[in-house]
């Protein structure tokens, strides 16, 4: 029995490593290309490990101003996240504590998350043309805020329900208005959930492609759109694709690594409390 267990563990360990290698290999390959010289990128057979790590591919992006798209993504994702968190948490509080609108309202809010972007983006585009919001920060910020609100409301509702009601009642008796209770009790009590939800909201806005593809031209191009600009019919700008992708992906990896605790709850729309 014991020896069996030991053998089983070894086998499982080997399998686990193999699976992990398979899933990480694409990311490894992307990272390696970003550090390769042109000769290494276009070597046949492919070079599995570059001779030396060099940052020339990144330097080009900085020199040409391509990294501005990272800045655009940063502005749009940050502002839309802040807006969505603030409005969404207010709404979530109302639903969680007063059952405002009943189940119907809560379900309606979530159903807006399920609409395919392509269905939304077309009328929005025509509206934005009228408003002059195409290729502006405000256009994408408003759209991302709207698209993220259902998620924020749904998640924050769950986190707020976890707060003991007595804390709020105590504050009411102690002399707080409803709004003060929200600001002084709910907000700090929901800190963990707020932070986690904000990160996932940010990640969505940061990664989003189709809205950005349609609603940006050149002024506020976000980094995912920029990456597709490097695709060519026959040959790709390999080094740029890889380096730009890395610039846009590594920060997300770090952010999510910091909140492993909230990860499962965050991606399962709160279905699993983890």
């Amino acid at each position: 029995m014991r020896a069996d267990k030991g053998l089983g563990l070894t086998l499982r360990y080997v399998t686990a490593i193999a699976v992990t290698v398979v899933f990480l290999f694409p990311i490894y390959w992307l990272a390696m290309i970003s550090f390769k010289t042109p000769e290494e990128i276009f070597a046949f057979p492919p070079v599995w490990w570059p001779e030396s790590i060099q940052f020339a591919n990144y330097a080009v992006l900085f020199k040409d101003g391509d990294v501005d798209t990272i800045w655009n993504s940063m502005v749009i994702a940050t502002v839309s996240t802040v807006c969505a968190m603030f409005l969404g948490t207010m709404c979530a509080y109302s639903i969680a504590r007063f059952r405002t609108g009943g189940n119907f309202f809560a379900d309606w809010v979530l159903s807006n998350r399920m609409i395919p972007p392509i269905v939304i983006v077309f009328p929005i585009f025509l509206l934005y043309v009228q408003l002059g919001w195409v290729d502006t920060y405000v256009g994408l910020i408003v759209l991302y805020t709207a698209f993220n609100l259902p998620y924020v409301i749904w998640m924050m509702r769950g986190y707020i329900q976890d707060i003991p009601l007595e804390l709020e009642e105590s504050a009411l008796v102690d002399g707080c208005s409803r709004w003060q209770v929200f600001m002084k009790v709910v907000w700090p009590m929901a800190r963990g959930g707020l932070f986690a939800t904000a990160v996932f909201t940010f990640v969505f806005a940061w990664n989003e492609f189709i809205f950005a593809l349609v609603l940006t031209r050149s002024d506020v191009t976000t980094f995912p759109v920029q990456v597709t600009h490097y695709f060519g019919g026959q040959s790709n700008f390999w080094a740029k694709i890889a380096a730009m992708s890395m610039l846009g992906t590594v920060p997300i990896f770090i952010a999510v690594a910091l909140l492993q605790r909230f990860l499962v709850r965050g991606i399962s729309l709160g279905a699993v409390k983890g």
Binding site: S94, I115, F122
Partner: protein, 312 residues
Amino acid sequence: MNSGGATGETVAGPGGPALLTRASQAADRNFKYWMIFPAVLVILLIGLFPVIYTLIVSTQNLTMMDEDTTFHGLMHYRALLEDARFWESLLHTFIFVVVALPAELIFGLAMAYLFLERLPGRQIFVALLVLPVITSPIIAGATWRLLFDNRFGPINQILGWFAGEPVPILWTVDPNFVYPAILIAEIWQWTPFMFLLLLAALSNVDQSQIEAAELDGAGFWRTFTRIVLPAIWPVMAIAVLIRALDLFRLFDVIWALTRGGPGTSTETISIYAYVLGFQQFETSYTSAMAFLVIVILAVSITLILRRMEIDR
């Protein structure tokens, strides 16, 4: 909590205090509506405006050339029914859903079982395996574009080792390989999503129930179907629902790998709508299609949710 409902009507004391109390009560009663108001306003931008707008425009005849806003009835819907490309795009979407979804579910479940029991360094494995999920789908597509390159990509190279000779597959061009290519990329990105949720669900299954079943002589399969599956079903159902909806709107990965090609052979609903609306500027026709998609989706979501309610 104060639910803002009916209050004692016997009060109405004379003089000052009554005024004050009335005012403060009213403020409290409306508080909950003030709290949802701004969010609802913003959500309507995506939740109501597009539905109404596409419905209206779909009955007109707007194109790039023509600003014809007269009523044309269901003309575009009729055209849509006869549009083979539309039905094919629906079929392509369907293929991606029915192949990728079970594959992600089964691989995810297998991986969850692999990591279910104590394994040294499990946290690190899980942390690494989550990376594909949080990568931007368009970046994931771009990455696989590089991996699938027929000459400089590692995939053909690795296949070559097994074949014993160079393998020159044109993954993103050859009609026989575009579907596997897209599916591999899609499954690679989202299997860890299933894995994470199922691992959490499996960890929450009451261990004593499983042990009791094993003592009763139930085999793995019996234990799984009778005890484990019912226990993880709620989470699994939600995971499947989330993924099904994502796959239905599949766009980014295909955009990066094939742009719907070769020809229109990998064109999904989303890709076709994009091409129609933003490359051919068939405003009214695209609106009709968008509205139809909303209807299809609304109906199927309602049915699925009702089915899940019943199962529970």
